[in-house]
């Protein structure tokens, strides 16, 4: 028993010494690393982050139709993100990563206004066009100091659309009749149960022309250094083009990927390549999980078969019409 006691004491001492030594080493390593980077915060290190990436993915709406409705995930969310970045003194430049066919006029203009405020606060803005940056997507890109596009990205589609589906024929076939009681002649303008009248068409056309002019003004403002108004109007007939074609006409500044956009943003903001630190928004896993569930449940399983939504004024590339 004496021998066993001695062995067990030795094992215990060995264990205690190892534990203390290992703990000391882990903490000591931490202090050494911190001594090398005095700007690091205590704990898991964070550098002073100076370039932020804001993603604009998918159709642009004020908020995505989210059954749960807890967190905005559309234009409202992007605007909130931009406001936070505008107030962050460390962030010197923002790269707007766009992969969107556009969206509703209101939502696009909400984000556009916030982008202009961001630029006015002194921060640099670079747009990076990915797969698709058409119509409303390009509207946002036009706010940037520089536009970088993948050569094969689909861009352009400068124009406005109000899609209206007329179910009159179908309703007639299945015996559905729609009656409307209205306060004014044009209250049910854009109704799906009948064709547009000439007067209604004129009213909607005026709306489209007004929104189109706003679009042209935004592009003029952003691209005036490279393109004349006439040249812009020439390509602003709703046509889509590749990034490479857009560069030829002056709608895009550089061809490249996200990394190139980040480097350009750093150059504009006077940040050395070795000092680039990408800002990452703190990820809230609960928010991400709810957004994932919301975005999945918001899609009606039959949406691929139903006609698209009608009557909304949109800056959207809409080849399905």
């Amino acid at each position: 028993m004496n021998k066993e006691r001695i062995i067990s004491v030795l094992i215990l001492i060995f264990f205690i010494i190892s534990l203390i030594a290992a703990s000391f080493l882990v903490l000591r390593v931490s202090e050494e690393k911190m001594a090398r980077f005095p700007r690091e915060l205590k704990g898991f290190s964070t550098f002073s982050q100076n370039i932020a990436i804001v993603n604009v993915y998918g159709p642009i709406e004020i908020e995505s139709s989210n059954y749960l409705g807890f967190f905005p995930s559309g234009a409202d969310y992007i605007v909130e993100e931009l406001q936070n970045l505008r107030k962050n003194p460390d962030v010197k430049a923002v790269v707007l990563r766009i992969n969107s066919p556009g969206g509703s006029v209101g939502a696009v203009q909400e984000i556009y206004s916030e982008l202009l405020k961001l630029k006015q606060s002194g921060k640099k803005l670079v747009a990076s066009q990915a797969e698709v940056s058409a119509s409303g997507g390009y509207y946002l890109a036009a706010a940037a100091d520089k536009i970088v596009s993948e050569p094969g990205a689909v861009t352009g589609s400068i124009g406005v659309i109000i899609p209206i589906t007329n179910f009159e024929g179908l309703f007639g076939k299945i015996g559905v009749q729609v009656d409307v009681v209205k306060s004014g002649a044009h209250k049910d303008i854009g109704s799906s149960s009948r064709a547009l009248t000439d007067e209604e068409r004129k009213i909607l056309q005026d709306m489209v022309d007004s929104a189109y002019q706003q679009f042209l003004d935004a592009v003029n403002k952003g691209r005036s250094s490279l393109m004349t108004e006439e040249k812009i109007k020439e390509v602003a007939d709703g046509r889509i083009m590749t990034g490479a074609q857009a560069k030829e006409v002056g709608l895009v500044d550089e061809l490249g990927d996200l990394d190139d956009a980040i480097n350009i943003a750093a150059e504009l903001a006077g940040i050395k390549k070795s000092d680039i630190r990408i800002f990452e928004e703190k990820k809230d896993w609960k928010k991400m999980l709810l957004q994932q569930i919301g975005s999945k449940t918001s899609n009606n399983p039959l949406s691929s078969f139903l006609p698209p939504r009608t009557g909304l004024l949109e800056y959207r590339w809409a080849p399905e019409y």
């Binding site: 290992a22 882990v26 903490l27 094969g152 999945k296 080849p319």
Partner: protein
């Protein structure tokens, strides 16, 4: 048998140590603390993670609390299953045995130190060593069930793995449900992108 003898015999003659009824609750909890501290510190050292003091303490204290709650929960489940197998014993006797069976984890810190400064293939050895310790701990825990409830080896083994098997099957079912749900509700846009 004093505490030091219990700990020593647990490593050399585990069945002998587990049969002693003079196991103390405080010793059991100290073993859990030591085991988790050693395991955490060993992992940090091997991975080269650097933390400050408060984060270090947080990453030790929280797992200890969680582990103790988990052990209490598992002991209750095992007690219920053993009773179904006509075993006779008390959950209050099983709890200290399960806690003490974590003792082999104390070797992780010294092992991490040796591996770190030896210059040999650290990752593979560390994983292998962790696996050996895990097998050792599972064997001790199954022995605890056998001794406390006086059931045979196969019954003790089955009792031990049933809760994990149930959780595993439930996880697979939930995963299948979630994946099916996403496939049903996700819809792809059919617009013709420019594709290479």
């Amino acid at each position: 048998m004093n505490n030091l003898e219990i700990l020593f015999n647990l490593l050399i003659r585990p069945n002998y140590a587990l049969k002693r009824t003079d196991k103390t609750l405080s010793l059991s909890i100290m073993v859990v603390i030591a085991a988790l501290w050693s395991s955490t510190v060993g992992s940090y050292l091997i991975k080269g993670v650097s933390v400050n003091t408060s984060m270090f303490l947080f990453n030790i204290i929280v797992p200890i609390i969680v582990k103790l709650c988990l052990i209490i929960m598992l002991v209750s489940i095992w007690h219920f299953i053993c009773e179904s197998f006509k075993g006779e014993g008390k959950a209050t006797e099983l709890f200290p045995c399960i806690c003490l069976s974590l003792l082999p984890y104390i070797f992780l810190a010294p092992m991490a130190l040796i591996l770190k400064f030896s210059g040999i293939n650290v990752t593979f050895l560390w994983i292998f060593f962790n696996f050996l310790i895990l097998v050792w701990v599972i064997a001790l825990q199954i022995s605890s069930l056998k001794i406390v409830y006086e059931i045979n080896g196969p019954a003790a083994t089955l009792t031990y793995f049933i809760p994990f098997a149930v959780v595993f099957v439930l996880s697979i079912l939930i995963l299948i449900l979630v994946i099916s749900f996403f496939f049903i509700t996700a819809s792809q846009a059919l617009t013709p992108f420019l594709e290479l």
